[in-house]
Symmetry: C2
């Protein structure tokens, strides 16, 4: 049975997987990208790992998902924010030569989209949208059974769609982008602010009770223990755990994230009319309360969508989606 190799090159780590025809990862490696040493050195190490994994198997093709804009036709990377010094480098040609395998490259979120479409939560759809929630927020689309690329191979960029035209400035130079509201850094920032505000409320309430009597104070959020000097760094994971445990402050935060995502999805549904939307990426680990809030927001704000074929679901492949999807590139894009 033939195999394909999928590679997911991120700013920090690179995942390599041998994927069978059913989309199962049968062997894998994870190495530090060491992006700062330049693309040649980094990709030499990737090629070595591929050769080791491929040595005992019949491997047909190599597919690469890269964190940044990628010219899908040529495999050249453009302005990758997390891969300094890689701009203009022909990742596809380099890896094809180094491994002897036919190689196709695309943007990392396109790879995730292909993975979920062909082997995950988007299976069987003709029109699909897949978003990835993390530090950055990305997206990819399948339109009429084909990966949507766009004129500059830059389609699906959900993180920098506008949800509040008069909103907060985003690091991209825009205003009111989705990423500015649901990127993991901003979720954590908001969690800290809410905890601080709660502390103050509790303190002033206690003072009032001491002076005049009255009912007990609001129960402090469990997140209190994770913020402040000398405490371990708060992350989205802890917010998610607290929400699952029923912590009201954390639940409210998660629901807000879902609502913001829902507003952006109204625009996705209006413009692309997918039959299914898959929510993936680390922040999607916030789980059902996030999903429910997103669904409710789409249904409430998108009343014109009533009666449409449309489902919003969570990712099925998790962290493997990128590797699995990348392994399918040759089949989807045709020969290099």
């Amino acid at each position: 049975m033939p195999f394909d190799v999928g590679i997911d090159i991120g700013g920090t780590n690179t995942k390599i997987g041998v994927v069978d025809a059913q989309g199962r990862v049968v062997a894998r490696r994870r190495i530090a990208t060491q992006a700062g040493r330049g693309p040649r050195k980094a990709l030499d190490r990737v090629a070595e790992a591929v050769k080791l994994l491929a040595a005992t198997r019949r491997v047909r093709s190599l597919g690469v998902g890269i964190a940044g804009l990628v010219d899908t036709a040529t495999g050249v990377v453009r302005v990758p924010p997390n891969l300094p010094g890689w701009h203009g480098f022909a990742v596809g040609d380099f890896l094809a030569k180094a491994t002897g395998l036919e190689t196709r490259c695309t943007n990392d979120v396109n790879a995730v989209t292909l993975g979920e479409w062909l082997h995950g939560a988007g299976l069987g759809c003709r029109d699909l949208f897949c978003l990835t929630l993390g530090t950055g927020v990305g997206g990819g689309a399948i339109v009429a059974g084909k990966l949507l690329l766009g004129a500059n191979d830059a389609a699906g960029e959900l993180g920098h769609t506008v949800i509040f035209g008069n909103g907060l400035p985003c690091r991209c130079g825009g205003v009111g982008c989705l990423e500015r509201y649901v990127g993991s850094d901003y979720i954590v920032q908001r969690a800290r602010q809410r905890v601080r505000a709660q502390k103050q409320r509790v303190r002033s309430h206690r003072h009032q009770v001491e002076m005049f009597g009255g009912p007990g104070a609001e129960k402090p959020s469990v997140l209190v223990d994770l913020t402040g000097r000398g405490r371990p760094r708060l992350s989205v994971k802890e917010v998610g755990r607290a929400a699952r445990d029923g912590d009201p402050l954390a639940l409210e935060l998660v629901r807000e994230v879902g609502e913001y995502v829902g507003i952006a999805l109204v625009n996705v549904v209006a413009l692309l009319d997918p039959e299914r939307i898959v929510i993936g990426g680390g922040v999607s680990g916030l789980g059902p309360p996030l999903l429910d809030a997103a669904r409710r927001t789409v249904m409430r704000r998108g009343q014109i969508f009533t009666g449409r074929r449309l489902r919003i679901v969570l990712s099925q492949l998790g962290g493997d989606a990128g590797v699995i999807g990348a392994s399918r590139l040759a089949g989807q894009l045709g020969p290099a």
Copy 2:
């Protein structure tokens, strides 16, 4: 030389045109739709007109653009807001039988998009977005050289994408939709408000000058003559004319419309990455100041788009785009 017939069915008027292979309308008719009498009576009259126009020519196919959701595969209309009583009617089958011509149907804005793509301002593009500004705001897209339909034949609905997530309630049930800001009714409404506010400013300024002296008052907008009791109804056309004549109040209004459109286009570019965007529909008659403001907004807010292949232009086919595009449906969608 073979011809095709294109039909553009709107809530008020229906346009019928015989179109040659170069996309020229060689013969045309315009009849009242009389939608309220039901689809059979209305379409019988359309079929009569088609037969008259086609009598002396070799006509290959019939294409219909309809104001509403249309099932492109079956030619059945769904919940057309301006065609009461037409829901569920198989327009395609009816016209095919009545005329003996192979008939394909789609949404009216999809027809406009095909027209501009094949014979107008979108000529030669692989990835195109076309928006129509009028009482309603619509959109259509060409993706990788094909009309984007979506899972429910409802893609491209730009009018109900969100530009202000915390904005004004829209008649669609949503919040902060583009149409709520640039639909022609709302432009006229804003024009009236601005004129009223200016009148008040001028009056109170005059009072101040009488009391204390000082410089002369702001010059009243030419739109003043078009608002108030007993005056002819103000329309977007007059706002456009005043803006062209340099009226500051009108110019500001037009620039605002362009800015709102620009915010929505940021989302189009982020999600679809077209190489060209065509702005059509009656309100696009506001012309260069609208176009310039839209372009500036996309460039300022969409700094991540810098260096991309992307042009924003005005429609070339104007009111004929729908008829010309509809005439191309059989060729684009394949046989019915």
